[in-house]
Amino acid sequence: MMNTTTMVPFDPTGWQAFLPFTVSEPAGIARQRAVVDVAFALPGAALAPEGADLRVVHDHAGQLRELTAQFYNLEQADGNITGRVAFFLDIAAGASESLRLYHGNPGAKPPSYPSSLTVMKAAAGPQHYWIENEFYKIETLPKSGQIWHVWNKRGSNTSWHHNEWAENTDKGGDPCHWAPNCWVGYPDRVTNGYELREGKEPDFFDWHYVFGWDNPSSATIRGPVFFELRRWGPVWPHPEHTNANIRRDDKQRIVAEVVYRFYAGLPWLYQSSRLQTLEDLRVFFIRNSQFVFLDRAFTHALLMPERRPDILPTDEVAPAVIRLMARDNLKPFPRMQHSLSNVLPAKLEYVGFYNSHNGDAFTEFQLVERNGNVHSGAPTYRNHTTLLTELHDWSVYFGRAFSYTNLRFHPENATFLPKGERYEEENICLIHRHENLPATLADLAARNLELRNPLEVKMPT
């Protein structure tokens, strides 16, 4: 197996102890640069500044080699060190590898591992970052930190963002990542909805979009393996696209948390979000898992259903490959936003786009989707579906809408969300190159299998 992780010989001289652990491959597929991310505890150990004397070492028949590792969330309490460590590992199908977590070396200096991941804090705002590895370059929105621009370095290397609002066109356009978001409706308000045709901003709902955050609470984790950007806080009505003349109280209605994790040497990023209501609400919709792209960015879409429990294990589940319509203005009803709605389940194995001309491809693997009611535990909401929206000369996106009613502005169709309702998701967003369909489908199938069968770590408790 080709070695895709950095390993250098390790000399155990001077190290006080190590914690042995094993990593096993459970799914019968060979992995390269698989992410191992595990919690650990080191009893009776003292935490050096910056965790300088912690190492992950691969024990291969007595040959010790140090792996590039990133220790984080380190804490010293009651004479123990606790924390997490992330590292990459190449492992054969079904194999089990022995590793050691070395600690306790007063002479050790903080390691300096090479990494293809670069993170640059930019100056346009408190959440403005440039994140780049060998596969992609990503820029975040300066105020909110949402993914703004995406460049596929193995594809066209042009940003996929679109221009939702004309006034933003010269300012870099609008973000690729829009979720989570919620349109909180006020259907009993006497509104200017009657004058919508005159181009006024509607005031019968407020746009609560996380990309409208203005410097939310945030935390970052940096290292040679990954960069994590975590943001959270109340989601206020979007300042640019909500009528400022409406009298509003200052009550917090929705809070959200969005996490990105970008890895060195991997073409994908991890994204999760959590949205919670703080009071009873009427909403016109909630969406998550929504990445919005320029309509011309992609030519085709891929939709892979989950294997339903009633399908025989020996039967096949195949993805749908469909031609997108917005790019070439092929929609039968151009003004209708959705090409597909109400037949796609809320959770799919993956959804994605590719461009058959320039090789750009983006696929989202939906690992976790929770549409739960935290009070009752019951699943909620009518019309819970994945939708595909396309508009010519505009945008294309998949979104998971919990309540995206088609006549959503009608007062009778507003959806009631009880206080404490929560929506959570975890996705892997793959930025990749499309050469041909069989190769892309095979690659996605392998990645899907790998992502849903993480390596198993056995660590002494």
């Binding site: 939709l303 259903p305 096949e316 031609r323 092929l330 597909l340 019309n383 006549l407």
Partner: protein
């Protein structure tokens, strides 16, 4: 008295209750009369619109069929077309018992030529021919109206015959051997694994394979033409003496409706191992269409909301690089309200729509609506059983003896434009919400149960409860 010589009259009270204006609405009513008044029913029945109980309006073309004598009681059906305003009522007189009356000669929109299984049926909406061997639809030519000019659109794949119903049997190597399967049009090829050739374990039979099925019934007149055929579904090259499933298909063509009614009943007389049971299989020329369009029925959607159509590109130009086989995986539910192949391109605007009326059946596995494309054709089917990996014996689905799959669908022809979706939805709603008809006076004798008659009337009214479609 305009109907001197006629001795009796039944009154039909027709009430439109679904608030839909109806033009050319088909009424097909079963009447019971005393047998001593039924000597000339084939000739003497006249249907007359009435303005009041004792005020005649005008006579309309009618068609009498299924005249059956049961001792002192005779039953018959009479069919006609009427216009009915939304929420309106119509009183109709059915005159009968005139021994001297000649058979009326109504001129209508339905032109039928041919005999046996081979026919040409021409209406203002389409011209179709049926196959001389199987009786299945062979050529399908839609007529669209362009400001008074009729345009013709040949929709079928030349040289092909509509499969109608397909059963993909798992080959039984004890009795049949493992037979190489001749490619079934449109059905995905079995998946092979490994490098060694895997024997194909399937063999398919469709109604297109029929060789001179029995003509069970036939009725033709100014209102409709009906033919019912019945035969075994025998895979080509297989032992015909085995107890293969029996398939009965009824086609019904109408003078005033832009639809063909297709009713099928598939009966398994003994246990069978299958990979697929596909009903309502419609296979058309890919070159003639740009999109597949469907209209779901979302149980979770509030009644105050609208259903949204979904659209998939199927044309061979923009979809040339799409792989053959299933076009939309297994995402489509079995019970769509309707679906269609459409062409939105200038001067090619047309649509052919399948509106579901009813279905029932036993065993199911991955039931769904499946859309299939290959180089030349696009195909839809409604499958109660659909295995995708047909190269494994573990995937054989057992259909128990006595299982019956029954389907009724209409195949509708229309122009396509931006209002098409609303029109089709209105048609579907109309077909699934027939007007209420009562017969007076009530027959006091012992009337036998009404014989089955396939009608363009559905049991899917629930699919149209929401605020509309877009």
């Amino acid at each position: 008295m305009r109907y001197a010589g006629w001795n009796f009259e039944k009154t039909l009270l027709v009430r439109e209750t679904a608030n839909i204006a109806r033009s050319g609405e088909l009424l097909d009513v079963c009447l019971a009369v005393e047998s001593d008044r039924a000597a000339n029913l084939a000739n003497d029945v006249r249907v007359v619109l009435k303005k009041d109980w004792n005020v005649l309006d005008r006579e309309i073309p009618s068609q009498v069929h299924r005249i059956e004598r049961h001792g002192a009681t005779t039953t018959f059906r009479v069919a006609c077309n009427i216009d009915l305003p939304a929420g309106g009522t119509q009183r109709i007189g059915v005159f009968y018992d005139n021994p001297q009356a000649p058979r009326p000669d109504y001129q209508g929109n339905l032109d039928i030529t041919g005999n046996g299984l081979a026919h040409t049926i021409d209406t203002p909406f389409y011209t179709v021919t049926t196959d001389a061997k199987s009786g299945q639809l062979k050529t399908i030519t839609a007529k669209t109206d362009d400001q008074g000019t009729t345009n013709l659109h040949r929709l079928d794949v030349p040289g092909s015959v509509q499969p109608g119903n397909i059963v993909v049997f798992a080959a039984d190597d004890r009795s049949m051997g493992i037979l190489p399967m001749s490619a079934t049009p449109g059905l995905p090829a079995p998946t092979d694994t490994g490098k060694m050739p895997v024997p194909h374990l399937q063999q398919a039979a469709s109604a297109a394979d029929w060789q001179q099925p029995q003509i069970v019934e036939e009725a033709r007149g100014p209102v409709f033409f009906r033919q019912t055929r019945k035969g075994r579904l025998v895979p080509p090259g297989s032992d015909p003496k085995r107890d293969w499933p029996e398939l009965e298909i009824t086609y019904k063509f109408f003078a005033e409706l832009p639809c063909i009614l297709v009713h099928s009943r598939l009966t398994f007389p003994q246990d069978a191992g299958v990979f697929a049971v596909c009903n309502d299989v419609v296979s058309l020329s890919r070159a003639m269409f740009s999109h597949y369009t469907f209209r779901p029925v979302s149980p979770s959607l509030p009644l105050t909301d609208v259903e949204e159509m979904g659209h998939i590109v199927v044309d061979a130009v923009h979809g040339a690089d799409l792989p053959p086989g299933l076009a939309f995986s297994d995402f489509l539910p079995h019970h769509l309200a309707w679906h269609a192949f459409i062409n939105i391109h200038l001067l090619k605007e047309r649509a052919i729509t399948g509106i579901q009326l009813a279905s029932s059946g036993g065993a199911t596995y991955r039931p769904g609506t499946y859309v299939i494309r290959d180089e030349k054709s696009v195909q839809w089917c409604r499958a109660p059983i659909y295995v995708q990996a047909r190269n494994r014996r573990e995937n054989v689905i057992r259909v128990p003896a006595g299982t019956v799959f029954e389907e009724a669908n209409t195949l509708c022809f229309s122009n396509w434009d931006q209002q098409w979706g609303q029109r089709i939805d209105a048609l579907g709603k109309r077909l699934n919400n027939p007007p209420a008809v009562t017969v007076h006076p009530v027959y006091l004798g012992d009337a036998p149960p009404e014989p089955f008659e396939p009608l363009p009337v559905g049991r899917r009214a629930d699919a149209y409860l929401r605020a509309g479609v877009r």
